[in-house]
Amino acid sequence: MEFDFSAFIGRFHPLIVHLPIGIIIITLIIEFFLKSSGKIITWLWFFSFATALVSIFTGWQLSTVSFYSESTLFWHKWLGISICGISLFFMLINIFFEQKKGLLLNIFRGLLLVLITIGGHLGGQLTHGNDYLIEKAPVVFQKMVGYQPPSKIDLSSMHLDSVVTYEDLIFPILDQKCVQCHNPKSSSGGLDISTKEALFKGGKNGEVIIAGNSEESDLFHRVSISQSNPKFMPTTGVPMSFFEVELLKWWIENGADYEEKTSSTEKSEEIIRIIQKNYNLDFSPRPWYEKEKAPELLDSVIENFSKTGFKISGSSSDNNFIEIGLTKTEVDGSLGIDKFISNVIVLDLKNSILSEQCFEDISKLKNLIRLQLQGTNTRSENILQIEPLPRLEAINLFNTKVDDEILNHLSKFPALERIYTWQTNVSASGIENLKSIRPDIEVISGIE
């Protein structure tokens, strides 16, 4: 590797910068408390000035080879120069003037202390990141300054279909790791990451994201190269985790679309695991009822309901979904399931006589997956009465009086996969017709 003088000498800045700080403080203490003066003080101010000057030089060298938040750097730089200037001022006072007391000078001494504190703090922020001090501070103190510790992002309350990859998965990473320096105010390298439009535009060297090619994308390149490389990002603070880098890569490789839904992007098992781990979102190809939960059911509700001639079985230990069957052979009036309409996923009413009202109740079962009406008095009108159930996958109408009329209506059920129509009035031509509208629905109308 080629020798880089600036980088070498610049890295002495954090060391040397503590010399003027220490010397200035001790000088102020001696002046103020020991009321001492004379040559020794003049020399001390000289050393303060001289080491501050070296600090400025090394700091300047460091700034040319590193990437720091520009606004912070600006203030750090000018505060340092001011401190150096004031040190020079005090040295000259000590050389040329007898009178070293007076209000004005004490104000300058106080100012110097303030400048050192602020400038030093800014320097600390540059090297360690903005949250370095506060993240370990007592909670009371954190609250006072309105600091919120970065918590694991939990998106589990979101509907899986509404998750947008960039907005919900990628931007939170960039926001946490990049936006501090790459924002409209201090767009380091001319790059602003705070909005989609700005990120799309890129930095002073052009676009930073090449859709479909992570290797060529500067954004990915800079966060994935060796951390010892001066081009590594972020220069300060916690680098992106392996999983975050992988997510970024996956997003870029899949076209770096800013609007695309996560559900419609191809995901490897690894990516599914990462999303689950980082965002508590489960995109694994499991059925929805294994991921979602229904409202809790009261024992008394279940018990009273079962006494009205139904059998209920839980779908699993903790999701509260239930399957309902009959222990009676006739349902007059309502099914009486209003208290748990979103819990029912299977409704088995086979071989019974059903009232008109049952079908009104069925319309409310938005989570129903399977509806078994075989051997009931169901007629076409009853089925037409059921509003399209969004999650219904199978409906069994074997041995009922339904006819072709129902097929057109059932074609509006978005998730429907199987219709059982053996021993009904549904005709072969009706089934053919349905096939042309909904080829994804299988109609089982009897073997041979």
Binding site: P287, Y289, E290, L297, D299, I302, S306, F310, K311, I312, S313, G314, S315, S316, S317, D318, N319, F321, I322, E323, G325, T327, R370, Q372, Q374, A394, N396, F398, R418, Y420, W422, I444, S445, G446, I447
Partner: protein, 485 residues
């Protein structure tokens, strides 16, 4: 801590001693060891629930029809097509294939192990292109509904231990059968019928008997044992009232027995008393439900045609398949058929022809019938035996006959229905159909998968007996996720 379905308030001697001798410490320990029962965080919703209350996870299957082909059907003549066997017919099996393996006493003394190919032609069927031999023309028509596992393997090499192993998870008698575990865990979906029903083909009792302990409850409470429905006028033995006893009399008698039972139970707390009382009540309800089930005379002709002519004769495999469908329609949880006679040590071609003629059409009809009624949605059908048969001939190969010995290292089964991939084949054997080359499915894996489909974590359904917690899969078993839909 609990020792049967009627937990907590009931102590038998063993439970009493276990609790009092160790006291609270033991109870605390118990809740650590068996969170299933002690930690009742998941409250049961099931109204006729088993011990689990709710399944561990969403079940794909609500019931199982297990068509058990007793005797060890030969995979080489049915589903595991190995053309090389025909090519090398009469030559010695290569050492590299059979070396070091255990053989039965019936063929271990043979001077040579000569390769024998299938006498029956194979063809690819359906869109899935599954290989099925000409012995099973009806099954061949429905292959796109089936999932073949060609890499089944077992630990046992003789019938009794092998059947006991696949039915109970242990080669030694005394453990509960699969159906008993399921009734114990999941309960019943029809209070008028037992949740575990057994149908055995009549007149097939040959050299290899079936024992009723194969559908026994083992150490589980006795109400969970399988109930055999027989052909003939008395489907369940001693179920009907004796001549001169009316239904009212019987009801009254049962009420008195019930009172006596409760007195006795209050006194000594033996849970087996409650178990017996449950069985009395079940038997009473079965007096009306069983004749209704067994009366197949109202089935239409096209159904008889579909299941084959045999289906009109009570006790045949075909009639039992028809009954199995009727039981499934009434939500019986575990329906187990046994068909004996697959033990083809000699005279294999004739034997296979006969066996397949008896079973092929009814099996295929049952699956099709379940499908057209929508029952395949939540019913799992399993076809299979206890082990496979060797690729070499037992005894000499003649122009039209040969035999095959028991072979535990690989055999084929198929499944269909709820939660299982359709038109799929899993696992493979070597060119000789002798050793497994990929995706081995051990009997315990098969059992774990079966339980998984019913919503049970096979590691979490157990029962403490003689100081140890037992489960169907012992300490083994891995769910075969690859065959799940």
């Amino acid at each position: 801590m609990s020792y049967c379905g009627n937990e907590n308030k009931n102590y038998n001697r063993r439970a009493f001693l276990a609790k009092t001798s160790l006291g609270l410490g033991a109870m605390a320990m118990g809740s650590l060891i068996n969170p299933l029962i002690a930690n009742s965080k998941s409250k049961p919703i099931n109204t006729f629930g088993g011990i689990l209350g709710n399944p561990h996870f969403a079940p794909k299957a609500k019931r199982v029809i297990y068509l058990f082909q007793s005797g060890g059907p030969s995979q080489a003549e049915l589903f595991d097509y190995k053309p090389i066997l025909e090519k090398l017919q009469g030559t010695n099996m290569p050492e590299s294939v059979i070396a070091g393996q255990r053989l039965t006493g019936m063929s271990s003394g043979q001077a040579s192990y000569r390769v024998v190919g299938s006498k029956f032609k194979f063809d690819k069927h359906g869109e899935s292109g599954a290989w099925v031999s000409e012995l099973m023309p009806h099954t061949a028509k429905i292959v796109d509904e089936l999932c073949f596992i060609k890499s089944m393997n077992t630990d046992a090499i003789n019938h009794d231990p092998a059947i006991t192993f696949i039915q109970t998870g242990s080669q030694f008698p005394g453990r509960p059968s699969i159906g008993s575990w399921l009734s114990y865990g999941l309960g019943s979906d029809n209070e008028n019928l037992p949740s575990f029903v057994v149908l055995v083909t009549k007149g097939k009792q040959g050299a290899q008997p079936l024992y009723s302990r194969l559908w026994g409850n083992g150490f589980l409470p006795s109400q969970y044992q399988g109930v055999q429905f027989r052909a003939g006028k008395d489907p369940v033995l001693y179920l009907d009232n004796p001549p001169g006893v009316s239904a009212d009399n019987r009801r009254e008698q049962l009420d008195y027995i019930d009172k006596l039972g409760r007195l006795s139970h209050d006194e000594n707390g033996d849970p087996e008393i409650l178990s017996r009382m449950n069985q009395y009540e079940m038997a009473f309800r079965m007096q009306t439900s069983v004749p209704e089930i067994m009366n197949i005379s109202k089935e239409p002709d096209h159904i008889y045609k579909m299941y084959g002519e045999d289906s009109k004769i009570p006790g045949t495999y075909a009639a039992n398949c028809l009954l199995a469908r009727r039981l499934a329609e009434r939500d019986v949880k575990f329906i187990q058929l046994y068909h004996q006679g697959w033990d083809a040590h000699g005279g294999l071609p004739g034997l296979m022809k006969r066996q397949c003629k008896e079973t092929d059409q009814p099996t295929a009809a049952l699956i099709s019938d379940l499908k057209q009624r929508g029952l395949l949605e939540d019913t799992l059908v399993i076809w299979g035996g206890e082990f496979g048969r060797t690729s070499y001939s037992q005894g000499i190969i003649t122009a039209d006959s040969y035999g095959r010995d028991h072979h535990p290292k690989c055999f084929s089964i198929f499944m269909a229905g709820a939660g299982i991939k359709k038109g799929f084949s899993f696992g493979s054997t070597d060119e000789f159909g002798y050793n497994i080359t990929s995706n081995s499915v051990h009997v315990h894996d098969f059992q774990a998968t079966l339980m998984h489909l019913l919503g049970i974590d096979h590691e979490r359904l157990n029962f403490k007996y003689q100081g140890r917690r037992f489960r169907l899969t012992d300490v083994h078993g891995k769910v075969v996720n690859e065959i799940l839909a």
